[in-house]
């Protein structure tokens, strides 16, 4: 007994040794940068006199750039969230439908492996390439614009991307198109994990396929759908590559009585103030980062609350 105990203690230190690299790198490249970003968000460059400025420790970046009326942050936040909803809702609906089809024991479809592989494919291709590809198709000289011009939808040296909501919907579609295959595979795995005896029992009780889906599959898939929802929401809040390379935040669109960049997301806004040039303002970029972090945190906490609630019920 004594001997064993000493042994565990002796080996326990290796546990510490082996996690050192992870935590060291985490602290230097993730934790410190995060804290420094918080700190920077409280530093505002303010003009003193005509030609000089000083850095003041205050909440100015938040009051001036986030909470002031008519700022550009909330339109970008709105664009980000609506783009996410527009891609997520149809994505989950279609994924659920396909997952139900592909796991239907009475009606086995042939070639499922191929469908999965092909439907998932857009998810693995570089998002930057996909954005530029779609842009090139819909641009003034794009192949699809050529067709639209022949149909009379587009007139002269124009494209559907220069005004109106088309860019916005195309971006939502690209996201949907890139992600439904992923969600479908995840849901299929979830359905396969449901005990077959539940379905057998339901069949004995005379439940139809549709009833089985609504009364067994869907309730038992709930944790997985929640998980997909959260990871997708967190990823969606950081949306950058597609809107940036598709139309770079354009076109300008009137919403109410303000004009906004109709496809500019929060992360695009952050990058704009991080990039070198006359607009560079680290304090402002940091303030936007902090609000984005808070939004992400709220989404995660809601998720944790939902899952822990379930654990209590189970216990």
């Amino acid at each position: 007994m004594n001997k064993i105990k000493r042994k565990t203690v002796e080996y326990g230190k290796y546990g510490y040794y082996f996690i050192i690299p992870f935590f060291l790198v985490f602290i230097v490249f993730q934790l410190y940068p995060l804290l420094y970003t918080f700190y920077t968000s409280l530093l505002q460059v303010q003009k003193v006199g005509r030609n000089s400025s000083e850095v003041v420790f205050c909440l100015g970046n938040f009051t001036d750039y986030v909470f002031k009326q008519g700022n550009e942050f909330w339109p970008a936040a709105g664009v980000t969230v609506v783009l996410w909803i527009l891609n997520f809702v149809p994505q989950v609906a279609l994924s659920l439908l396909l997952a139900a089809w592909f796991t239907d024991a009475h009606n086995k479809l042939k070639g499922q492996g191929a469908y999965k592989v092909i439907m998932y494919m857009p998810n693995i291709i570089t998002a930057a390439t996909i954005a530029v590809l779609f842009f090139s198709l819909f641009d003034v000289h794009g192949s699809i614009t050529g067709i639209l011009r022949n149909m009379g939808v587009v007139v002269g040296e124009d494209s559907i991307l220069t005004h109106g909501p088309a860019s916005f919907f195309i971006i939502a579609f690209i996201q949907f198109w890139m992600w439904y295959g992923n969600t479908m595979i995840v849901l299929i795995a979830g359905i396969m994990g449901i005990s077959p005896s539940l379905y057998e029992a339901a069949m004995v009780d005379g439940a139809s396929g549709t009833q089985q889906f609504w009364l067994i599959t869907l309730p038992l898939l709930k944790p997985i759908i929640q998980f997909t929802l959260v990871t997708s929401a967190i990823g969606g809040l950081q949306m950058y590559d597609i809107p940036k390379l598709f139309n770079n935040g354009k076109p300008l669109v009137n919403v109410g009585n303000t004009t906004i960049e109709s496809t500019r997301t929060i992360v695009m806004l952050i990058k704009q103030y991080v990039d070198a040039g006359s607009k560079q303002n680290y304090g402002r970029a940091a303030a936007y980062s902090v609000v984005l972090f808070a939004m992400t945190l709220v989404v995660s906490l809601v998720f944790y609350a939902l899952t822990s609630e379930k654990k209590e019920k189970r216990a």
Partner: protein, 293 residues
């Protein structure tokens, strides 16, 4: 009893109509996945003026000319050629992937094999930080890079791979289900030191999980645009593949579509080939993500 027969005959009736609908929808969705890439391929073989007129389904003969234009140094769309960009991406992605799977395995191993005082704390911490996106700390990352003289180098794109919480999570799950601690005990009795046991005994056993995680780590690093485009902004000759694609588009002035599509085509090809070779592992790896809790 009557209910059973009614419901289940209805099912059988429905099945008759359902099958063709399900096949049609599935096949249409597959075509939708493939079509943009098919157009991409076709357009890379056509002349710019023909591309502008509409969608074509038959390849043309401008393949070589477009490639020539894309790689011709005097008319280059970016300061790096497509192949240099690919090489740059490989220089970052290969070491990053190796570090990521090695250290994630080491961390997961530590949390599974050893019972130390703060084990649960460390694990809970790694679990919690999985949800933190890297995009929100970019201002601080720039600071770290400028203080350490790493701004404009590949290092800040490679080293952070050592701390990949999601990979640790998956490796730990794999170890819990299919790694026997008795092997570690046996190695101890044979006199192997702990680090060697990990390298020579644990790693070979973890290979299947490491391979899956390596694919996803590689793809994530290869496709990353945001961080490199900020940290390498001043280094035009260090541009990665996604940055090259961005530059292809930014080159508005002499927009030669044949050239752009050729660039996009070359950027897609390696990933696509790798995907179809490894698709079995990738699809099962994606499925693993869902069975998470």
């Amino acid at each position: 009893m009557a209910g059973i027969t009614v419901n289940q005959t209805e099912d059988r009736k429905k099945t008759k109509f359902a099958r063709p609908i399900r096949y049609t929808v599935s096949i249409l969705l597959c075509l939708l996945s493939l079509f943009p890439f098919y157009v991409l391929f076709i357009n890379s073989t056509l002349e710019s003026n023909i591309i502008k007129q509409g969608i074509h389904l038959i390849p043309g003969s401008f393949w070589a000319a477009n490639y020539e234009k894309l790689t011709n140094k005097t008319d280059v769309v970016s300061t790096v050629s497509v192949w240099e960009a690919m090489l740059n991406s490989l220089i970052i992605t290969v070491p990053a992937t190796i570090l990521q799977i090695y250290f994630a395995s080491l961390t997961a191993y530590a949390l599974t094999v050893y019972r130390f005082k703060h084990r649960n704390l460390a694990w809970g911490f790694i679990y919690a930080i999985m949800m933190i996106p890297t995009q929100v700390s970019i201002v601080g990352l720039i600071k770290v890079c400028s203080v350490t003289n790493m701004y404009g180098t590949y290092w800040p794109l490679i080293i952070p791979a050592i701390a990949a919480p999601t990979t640790v999570y998956f490796m730990k799950q794999y170890m819990e289900s299919s790694f026997s601690l008795e092997i570690v005990e046996a190695a101890r009795i044979d006199g192997s030191n702990e680090f060697r046991t990990f390298n020579t005994i644990a790693i070979p056993l973890l290979k299947p999980a490491m391979a899956t995680q390596a694919i996803f780590g590689f793809v994530a690093s290869w496709n990353n645009l945001y961080t490199p485009s900020i940290l390498l902004a001043t280094e035009q000759d260090k541009r990665t593949m996604p940055m090259f694609v961005e530059a292809l588009k930014a080159n508005d002035k002499q927009r030669d579509f044949g050239e752009i599509y050729m660039g996009l085509f070359i950027s897609v090809i390696p990933i696509m080939i790798a995907y179809f070779l490894l698709s079995k592992y990738i699809v099962s790896g994606v499925a693993l993500g869902g069975v998470k809790e």
